[in-house]
């Protein structure tokens, strides 16, 4: 009989949840969304969504997780099955395993790129310190990620990219194998402060850039901030702005991801979760608004503006971020150091997230299939290796990565969040949910939050889901969802079809495991013990 895992400290669990939430999107997605949707005015719907959607959903997930943990379950299938005593519930819980595992397949690859770029800045690689050369940096990135053809990273021996993927893979599994407290918690306790220090260093550098090119006096740091923050109040009248703000809050807090419910299940029954949940969310907001909102756009404004003609020539592929950033650092005084700090910070943001993707599945393999620590980690390693190998091999145009990202990392998240909101508000019930939240609470949660969770949050999520399904996107004719469906049907999109099969195959595999886990739990009498 294995001893039940627990967090070592409350600060540890807060750091781990915050580490899971803080990711690349805080620095690269948020500023773009804000600038596109009304600048400073975007912050009004953003904060409304934080209060009505983000924080209430976090509280709901923490409550359900700790509730399930008290009943002896750490994985979402188990937690769902004690909240809703119906055979289907644990299969719904499998979504909370599919999302982190599916996202891990490709996220680890992006994480390795960040580490690889940090390494190249550390050693002063000419590939990234070659002056203003957008086309060169783009070409370097495409070669580095093997976008030229499928299997490019395996041609001509082991590439540096593969080495960094192996390193990040090994580091992730080493930390997960060390356990919740000894691995993930200890690492996050160090990584989050280091990440903050790196980000503050880059922030100070950006804010002290002044006007780098005296010939372009308008391209200075104050106007860069203006580009990010100048309000356009008319944007508030557009539903798309409110939807974008809700989407940003939703993704940034990692709600509906299957992680919080697992992490919260390890919190001791009498410990606070109300304050911990809002603290983890506020740390994430600090990284997003105070750091992400102050660094990326001002820096890009100052420098990319200066090279407009050449940057335009780079094109609009998804790789532009990795191609554009080196230009910014190449023109920035001390660019090598700040380039290293930036990509190392992104690597830390990524690894604290990827660790949280492995833990829910690891927990399920242990409690669902009865595997010991070594066997569970080995099985998880095997499954995730296959998925990642697929993404790494089918690297042409990053098609496999992009497809899995949409279905597992975006669409399924909205579905799971909706399931969880209904599970909390209508199955567990707001009365039991509030009692769980108030148990040991060091922060009084207002009563109206329960009303919000029961009615407002599900409605908000249905609106987001409808936006995905029906709101025009891309060519302005079809929705994002149907655009993807149409893409799959095209005869030359073989990799996209296989990528979807990988996601579906993973889901079926998880359902089979859940079936055996359910039988095991029944045989052990775990549910009948709950009735006693």
């Amino acid at each position: 009989m294995s001893t039940k895992e627990q967090w070592g400290s409350r600060i540890g669990v807060i750091m781990a949840v915050a580490g899971s939430a803080v990711g690349l999107g805080n620095f690269l997605r948020f500023p773009g969304k804000a600038a596109e949707n009304g600048g400073g005015a975007f912050m009004i719907p953003y904060f409304v969504a934080l209060l009505l959607l983000g924080i209430p959903l976090c509280w709901a997930e923490w409550s359900m997780g700790r509730y399930g943990g008290r009943k002896g379950f750490n994985s979402a299938p188990g937690v769902f099955s004690v909240i809703w005593r119906h055979p289907l519930s644990k299969y719904l819980g499998a979504l909370a395993l599919l999302i982190p595992l599916g996202v891990y397949f490709y996220y680890i690859v992006i994480e390795a790129w960040c580490l690889g770029y940090a390494w190249q800045y550390a050693i002063g690689s000419e590939s990234l310190m070659n002056g203003i050369d957008p086309a060169g940096y783009k070409q370097h990135f495409e070669q580095y990620t093997g976008q030229g053809s499928d299997g490019a990273l395996f041609a001509g021996g082991i590439s540096q990219t593969l080495i960094f993927i192996l390193i990040t893979f090994a580091l992730n599994f080493y930390l997960v194998y060390r356990g919740l407290s000894g691995g993930i918690e200890k690492f996050c306790n160090i990584a989050i402060p280091v990440m903050a220090v790196c980000a503050v260093c880059v922030l100070v550098r950006v804010l002290t850039l002044g006007t780098p090119d005296p010939n372009l006096v308008d391209q200075n740091v104050v106007n860069g901030l203006g580009y990010m923050w100048n309000p356009q109040p008319e944007a508030l009248l557009k539903p798309a702005t409110w939807l974008a703000a809700a989407g940003q809050i939703f993704f940034t807090l990692s709600v509906g991801f299957g992680v919080i419910i697992n992490y919260a299940s390890y919190v001791k029954p009498k410990d606070d979760i109300a304050l911990s949940a809002i603290t983890a969310s506020s740390v994430n907001e600090f990284f997003e608004v105070c750091l992400g909102g102050m660094i990326t756009l001002p820096a890009a404004f100052i420098f990319i503006g200066a090279t407009m003609g050449t940057v335009v020539a780079v094109g609009s592929s998804f790789s532009l971020g990795f191609a554009a950033l080196p230009n910014v650092f190449a023109m920035m005084p001390g660019g090598q150091l700040f380039g290293f700090l930036w990509f190392f910070m992104l690597f830390l943001a990524a690894i604290t997230s990827s660790l949280s993707m492995l833990q829910p599945v690891n927990a399920f393999l242990k409690e669902g299939l009865g595997l010991d620590k070594f066997k569970a980690t080995a099985l998880l390693f095997t499954v995730s290796s296959v998925g990642t190998l697929f993404v790494v091999y089918y690297s042409k145009g990053l098609s496999a990565l992009d497809t899995i990202d949409f279905w597992a990392g975006e669409f399924c998240i909205v579905i799971l969040a909706l399931v969880q909101a209904i599970m909390y508000g209508w199955v567990l019930g707001t009365a039991r949910g509030k009692a769980e939240l108030d148990n040991g609470a060091q922060l009084r949660v207002p009563n109206f939050v329960q009303f919000v969770l029961k009615y407002v949050t599900p409605a908000y999520l249905i609106a987001i889901l409808a936006g995905y399904l029906f709101a025009p996107s891309g060519d302005g004719k079809s929705s994002a969802f149907f655009e993807r469906i149409n893409d799959i049907m095209k005869p030359d999109n073989f990799v996209q079809r296989i990528s979807i099969l990988i996601v579906l195959g993973t889901l079926v595999m998880l359902w089979i495991m859940v079936y055996f886990a359910g039988r095991r739990w029944e045989a052990e009498g775990r549910y009948s013990k709950l009735d006693e």
Partner: protein, 69 residues
């Protein structure tokens, strides 16, 4: 100018670079000058200070109550 074409495609990974895409396609406007306005200062200050207050309050409360757990 004409209508602005959609910039943000679906897919979180693709959006990692959308910030730069956004700057790029709007660059003509930026180069003409985009002065920080009073409204910009107000929204920036209010947003950052409210998040900072939230962080200070919550993290401070966690640290102060750490021994009670």
């Amino acid at each position: 100018m004409g209508g602005r074409r959609p910039i943000f495609k679906v897919g979180r990974v693709r959006e990692l670079t959308a910030t730069f895409e956004f700057v790029r396609v709007n660059n003509l406007g930026l180069c003409k000058g985009n002065k920080m306005t009073t409204g910009g200062w107000i929204f920036m200050t209010l947003s950052i200070s409210s998040v900072l207050l939230l962080v200070i309050y919550t993290v401070g409360k966690v640290l102060l109550t750490a021994n009670k757990q």
